[in-house]
């Protein structure tokens, strides 16, 4: 992992965002040239240093504020288009044409960056990451067992709202029209309970839930719409619908089971552009069944579910009043618990950056 050990204070334009790992962009978008990035309510720039390692830093040159995004990458350094100052992947200024002395204030704030699963991930929250980027074996060592697709949805919702949605199980029944009776919803206490999703997430950052329900059997000639919805939701292979969700403040992993057998996995991550502009990106994967046509059918059903559900969720995200509401009912317990934990990570992001204070000019 490439870390900035002594970067200047990272710009933070978002007061309500939890300290966490987020996605900045798909890896494929970052090539030879620097790319302007709007993230965390701030203007940033991304480029690839030596050996192709991705760097994300504040966009404007500390000299006269020119945009480094229209600069060039030279010997792994980002060169400002204006006076040719060069910055290392660490943010340090390596070269100022016309002078030998490099002022200590000539440095860029950089963010810890990792590249994984086809995305460039950035740590938000000042200084060093407080937990490791969670893994997702379905895209790692078990990649061959799955077939899937990527998705990207731009919303006007807040980051918290997009993550909280999976914990708000009741909206599956109302907004999405799923009938689950009986229904069990449980907030998980122990990260190890979500082992099917991947390596347990740091307990401090972990939030997990378990949804277990049975769909009624509809006869297709009586209520075709419901029959179709519920048959699709259960992949036509059972009536028991189970969903394992776990995640960290900036993303989630899902495993879906029908009649106890794993059918699909989802990795959801966020690109928090501004307070009210968040993009959700992710991977949706079905477990290969050994029968290609069946795998393909499941993949189509997962695609329909993922896109159909998002098509219903996004108008809600786009129009919800972020500070609105406040009248809660018993089934909101999970959401409220999630919000308390999220707030804890918002406060951690607001704390002065660890290990960077002494670098301040």
């Amino acid at each position: 992992m490439h870390r900035s050990d002594e970067g200047a204070a990272a710009p933070n334009g978002m007061s309500g965002l939890a300290a966490s790992w987020y996605v900045a962009m798909p890896s494929a978008r970052l090539r030879r040239r620097p790319v302007p990035v709007r993230l965390f309510g701030a203007d940033l720039v991304a480029w690839r240093g030596m050996a192709g390692r991705a760097v994300v830093a504040a966009r404007y040159c500390p000299h006269q504020g020119a945009s480094l995004a229209i600069g060039a990458v030279v010997d792994g350094c980002l060169r400002c288009p204006f006076h040719g100052w060069r910055f290392e992947p660490s943010g340090e200024c390596a070269h100022i044409p016309g002078t030998d002395r490099i002022p200590s204030t000539a440095r860029l704030a950089t963010y810890p960056v990792q590249e994984r699963y086809g995305y460039v991930w950035v740590w938000f929250g000042g200084g060093q990451p407080l937990f490791d980027l969670p893994d997702f074996p379905a895209l790692g060592e078990h990649r061959h067992r799955y077939a899937g697709f990527r998705y990207t949805d731009v919303t006007a919702g807040t980051a918290r709202q997009l993550i909280e949605n999976a914990v708000d199980y009741f909206h599956f029944l109302t907004l999405h029209g799923l009938q689950l009776d009986p229904l069990e919803f449980r907030v998980l206490d122990d990260p190890a309970e979500a082992g099917d999703n991947g390596t347990p997430i740091d307990a401090d950052a972990f939030f997990g839930a378990w949804l277990d329900g049975t769909v009624p059997s509809y006869r297709w000639w009586r209520s075709p719409a419901r029959w179709l919805l519920h048959t699709a939701a259960t992949y036509g292979s059972g009536r028991r619908f189970q969903l394992l969700v776990d995640g960290w403040p900036g993303g989630q992993r899902f495993t879906g089971y029908i009649d106890g057998r794993e059918v699909y996995k989802v990795l959801l991550a966020l690109v928090p552009t501004d307070e009210r502009r968040t993009t959700q990106v992710g991977w949706a994967l079905v477990r290969r069944t050994g029968r290609p046509w069946r795998t393909l059918l499941n993949l189509l059903l997962l695609y329909g579910q993922s896109r159909g559900g998002t098509w219903q969720d996004i108008p809600i995200y786009d129009t919800t009043e972020a500070t609105g509401g406040g009248f809660h009912v018993p089934y909101d317990r999970g959401v409220l618990k999630f919000r308390r934990q999220y707030q804890h990570w918002v406060e951690r992001a607001a704390q002065p950056a660890r290990g960077t204070a002494e670098v301040q000019s």
């Binding site: 109302t174 809600i316 509401g325 009248f327």
Partner: protein
């Protein structure tokens, strides 16, 4: 009360008087809920099972989802997210999955009247201080040729409504030429405005008569046979709207209803009806209507240009002829105070 921040923009930004305002054209609110920006707030308008319009905060008391995406089901507005249902009083009457609660979620509703093709909303607490004033001419539309007008402006509602009381600007901005200068008499008693309609309660009322003698009528219009000496205008209203009657030589030639829609700070819509009485001879009436409309359009254009570039001056330089405008502003300020007191005591959402 946890939902206090619900849909609030500080009313002080708006400096809005308590009163009846046009919320929307009535025909824009049909079966589906409609998002409405009004009073600097995000509201939703919908119709209950009997077709009665309801106006309430837009965001659900639960998690803040927009009720404008919802549906009217069994006469109640149903939130799209968790299917909470609100009745026409703003009371949440159904929360699926959470029956047997001892508390009830509530959204405030704004008093609403549907008249003359508009929805009129009361701003300033849950109870109107007086009924929406009447405009009898609009109850007998068959006697008039009519048209509706609608203009958006950054001017405050106060500036739009005080304009009729600023008689001097008719001569300067609108270039009304006459032998004697335009004069304005503030009326003392609501019954003096009987031509406009039944009296408005005195404390919510302000009225004036403007007159100009020896009116200079441009030659092309004189050539049409319009010879006139005295022009007068009877205007009266409440904070939020005005009724106007125009006379030439003492004969009524047009009437107007002007309503104001305070969308947000810096965004006001002025809209309403113009009526020209039918004489039985359509060509004459049509000519009059067109002439009236042309001068209305021209005058409004001139006003809107001033509104567009104006700033509010805290302590205007006092001149004699501003007496009536200043009087209007005092009238307005009194109702702003009332609105602030009553709105502060009205929670947009809460539990009961």
């Amino acid at each position: 009360m946890t939902g206090a921040r619900h849909g609030t923009t500080v009313a002080g930004d708006l400096d809005l008087a308590a009163g009846w305002y046009i919320a929307a054209r009535a025909d824009t609110v049909r079966r589906r809920p409609v998002p409405l920006d009004l009073f600097g707030r995000q509201l939703v308008a919908w119709r209950d099972g009997t077709g009665r319009a309801v106006l309430m905060p837009r965001h659900c008391a639960h998690l803040g989802a927009s009720l404008a995406l919802g549906k009217v089901v069994d006469g109640c507005l149903r939130c799209p997210f968790h299917h909470w249902r609100y009745d026409a009083t703003g009371t949440c009457v159904d929360i699926p999955g959470a029956t047997g609660l001892t508390r009830t979620a509530r959204l405030r509703t704004y008093p609403l009247r549907e008249r003359h093709g508009y929805l009129w909303a009361w701003y300033g607490g849950p109870r109107p201080a007086y009924e929406l004033p009447e405009v009898p001419a609009l109850d007998t539309p068959e006697r008039y040729l009519t048209y509706r007008f609608r203009h958006s402006t950054p001017a405050s509602p106060r500036r739009v409504l005080e304009n009729a009381f600023d008689f001097y600007h008719f001569m300067t901005l609108h270039q009304v030429r006459s032998r004697e200068p335009v004069e304005l008499d503030l009326l003392d008693d609501p019954s003096e405005a009987a031509d406009n309609g039944p009296p408005i309660p005195a404390e919510a009322w302000i009225g004036a008569r403007l007159r100009s003698r020896g009116l200079h009528v441009p030659a092309p219009i004189r050539a049409l046979g319009l010879r006139t000496d005295t022009f007068s205008l009877l205007v009266d209203g409440w904070p939020g709207g005005q009724r106007l009657t125009f006379y030439l030589d003492g004969r009524m030639v047009a009437k107007e209803l002007l309503g104001v829609t305070p969308v947000a700070a810096g965004r006001t819509v002025m809209q309403g009806w113009t009526l020209v009485p039918r004489s039985g001879f359509l060509p004459r009436d049509l000519t009059l209507l067109l002439m009236y409309r042309a001068q209305h359009w021209q005058g409004t254009r001139e006003d809107l240009a001033v509104y567009r570039h104006a700033a509010d001056v805290d302590t205007p330089v006092p001149v004699r002829y501003d007496r009536s405008v200043l009087r209007f502003r005092r009238f307005w300020a009194g109702w702003v105070d009332r609105a602030e007191a009553t709105e502060a005591a009205t929670a947009p959402a809460g539990a009961a």
